[in-house]
Symmetry: C2
Subunit: 266 residues, 2 copies
DNA sequence: GAGGCGAATTGGTCGGATCACTTGTACGCG
DNA sequence: CGCGTACAAGTGATCCGACCAATTCGCCTC
C-alpha cells in the first residue's frame, strides 16, 4: 500500500503465502472476478456455511475491508448489494447485521417486478397468481381457525363501508383493503415463503395500475361479490369451493387487465 | 497536509432555492431519506415513468452524481443497488444501461432465498413448487409442440445415460439434468415470469442440498420413473395426468427433504 | 478500404477526511 | 442511591480526488 506509483513490475501478489496482513488469499475461483463481487461472495459464504447466523453483527466496514483485502469503498458497495438483497441490514452508528433471513426479508426485492414491468409481463404475473392463489385459498380453507375467520370478516366489512362513500380516497382504501384481504388469506396457510411471493405479485403499485381506468360502477360490487364468495367458502372449510372462488376472482382481474392493455396499446 | 477544516458553521444548504448548479432540488418526500436511497428512487422513477426505457444508456456516473447532487461514491452505491436488483447493468468502460427488464432479469435475486435459507423455509419453498409445478406442467401439456417434446425426450435420455455410470460426476450431472428437464417444461408454458420464479425456487444450490445424503440406490430409479410419467402425460397432451404426475414428483422430493431435516435436527 | 494503433471516454478501485447517528459511560443533580 | 443529562468513543454515511482498467472511436498507416 502507500504510494502505489513506481515499480509496476514487482507484482505484490505473486506468492499466495506472501500476504503482509490479515488479507485472505485470492482463491482460484475468484480469478477475473471484480473485487467488489468477490467481497459479496465471501460474505454470502460466511452466511451459507453458518459462520454468520441470522441476527449476528458483522465486523465494522473498516475491518471487513481490511480482512477481505479491498478498499472501504468497495466493501461498502458489497454491503449495499447484500443490503439490497435483504441479507444484511446496516444501522447507522450501530453496525451491520445479518437479517433474520426470513422469506419476507429476502423476497422484498420481488416488488420491483411489479413496479417496472409493463404489458405482457403484467399478464404473466396474473397467470402465476392464478396458479398460486387458488391453491393457497384452498389450503387456507382447510386450516383457518375462528379467530382468523373473524379477522377476515372485519376486513370485508371495512371494504363494504368504503364502498358506500364515493370519493378519491375510497378508491385507494379499496385497493388497500383488497390487498389486506388476500394477504390475510395467504397468511392463514402458515407458509411465509408463499406469503412473501404473493405479496410481491400483488403489490400496491401493481394493483393500482390494474385498476386504473376501471372505476366505473359495477366493478366494486363485483369485487365484493368475489370476496364474499371466497369468505363463505373459507367459513365452510370447503377447499374446493375456495379454490374455485379464488380462481374466478383472479380470472376476473385478468380480464380487466387485458381490456386495459388493449385500450392502451391497440 | 491540506487539512480542509475551517468554518464548519456556515451551513451551505440553508435555503432550498440557493442551488448553485444543475442539482435537482430536494423534494418534500425525500425528507430524512439517506442520500443514496434518494438517488435510487430517482432512477427508479425515471424508469417507471418511461424517461428511461429498456436498453437505454444512462449518463455517466459522474454526470448522474452531479445531476442528483450526490457524490460519485453515493451514486455508485445507488447504481450498485439497482444493478443487484437486475434493473441496471454496468459495462466496464462502456457505460450503464437499463436491462431489458424481463422477468428473468428482475427475478435473478430470487436465488438467494434458496442459497441462504434453512430448515422450515426449504419446506415452504417446496410447498410453493407444489402449487406451481402441477399447474405449469398441465399448461405445458396443453401447449407443447412436437419439437419441444423431442427436446424433453433428449434430456430424459441424457439422464438415463448418466444413471448408468456410477460416479461423483454422474451425481452432479443428474442434478443438472433434472433442473434442465423441469425448466424446459416450464418454458413450454410460454410464461417467462413463471419460468423465472420457478428457476429461483429450484436453483442448483437448493437441489444439491435436498439431495445431499439421498444417494442410496432406488432414488435415481424413482426419479426417472417420475420424469417418465410426466413426459408421457405431456406427449399424450393430457393436462390432468400431467398435473397429477408433477404433484407426485414434488411430493416425493418434499418427503426426502423432510426426512433429511429430521435426520439433521432431531 | 482494411487493419491496427492510440487517445478519449467511462466504469472500477483506492485511500483519506469528515459528517451524523448510536451507544455506553461518567458526571452531577435531586 | 437513583436517574437523567452530557460527553466521548465507535461506526456507518457521505464526500473528495486520484488512479487503474476496459471499451470505444478516430486517425494513421499500409
Amino acid at each position: 500500500m502507500t504510494i502505489p506509483d513506481a515499480a509496476p513490475d514487482a507484482t505484490p501478489d505473486s506468492a499466495p503465502g506472501a500476504g503482509s496482513g490479515p488479507v485472505a488469499p485470492t482463491e482460484p475461483a475468484d480469478r477475473g472476478m471484480p473485487v467488489t463481487q468477490r467481497a459479496i461472495e465471501r460474505i454470502k459464504e460466511r452466511i451459507a456455511d453458518g459462520t454468520l447466523k441470522p441476527g449476528d453483527r458483522l465486523p465494522t466496514e473498516r475491518e471487513l475491508a481490511s480482512d477481505l483485502g479491498v478498499s472501504r469503498s468497495s466493501m461498502r458497495e458489497a454491503i449495499r448489494a447484500l443490503t439490497t438483497l435483504g441479507v444484511l441490514e446496516a444501522r447507522h452508528g450501530a453496525g451491520v447485521y445479518v437479517t433474520a433471513l426470513r422469506p419476507a426479508d429476502l423476497l422484498e426485492t420481488f416488488s420491483v417486478l411489479a413496479e417496472v414491468s409493463q404489458g405482457e409481463t403484467l399478464i404473466e404475473v396474473l397467470q402465476v397468481r392464478r396458479m398460486l392463489e387458488p391453491a393457497a385459498t384452498a389450503l387456507a380453507a382447510a386450516r383457518a381457525d375462528d379467530a382468523q375467520l373473524r379477522r377476515l370478516g372485519e376486513i370485508l366489512n371495512r371494504m363494504d363501508a368504503d364502498g358506500g362513500s364515493a370519493g378519491a380516497d375510497a378508491y385507494a382504501d379499496t385497493v388497500s383493503a383488497d390487498l389486506t384481504f388476500h394477504q390475510a388469506i395467504v397468511e392463514i396457510t402458515g407458509n411465509a415463503t408463499l406469503a412473501a411471493i404473493n405479496d410481491g405479485l400483488s403489490s400496491r403499485t401493481f394493483n393500482a395500475r390494474v385498476w386504473r381506468g376501471h372505476r366505473e360502477a359495477g366493478i366494486t360490487a363485483r369485487l365484493r361479490e368475489d370476496h364474499e364468495r371466497i369468505y363463505r367458502a373459507l367459513r365452510a372449510r370447503d377447499p374446493d369451493a375456495a379454490r374455485a372462488a379464488a380462481t374466478m376472482h383472479v380470472l376476473e382481474v385478468e380480464r380487466w387487465l387485458r381490456a386495459d392493455l388493449t385500450d392502451d396499446v391497440g
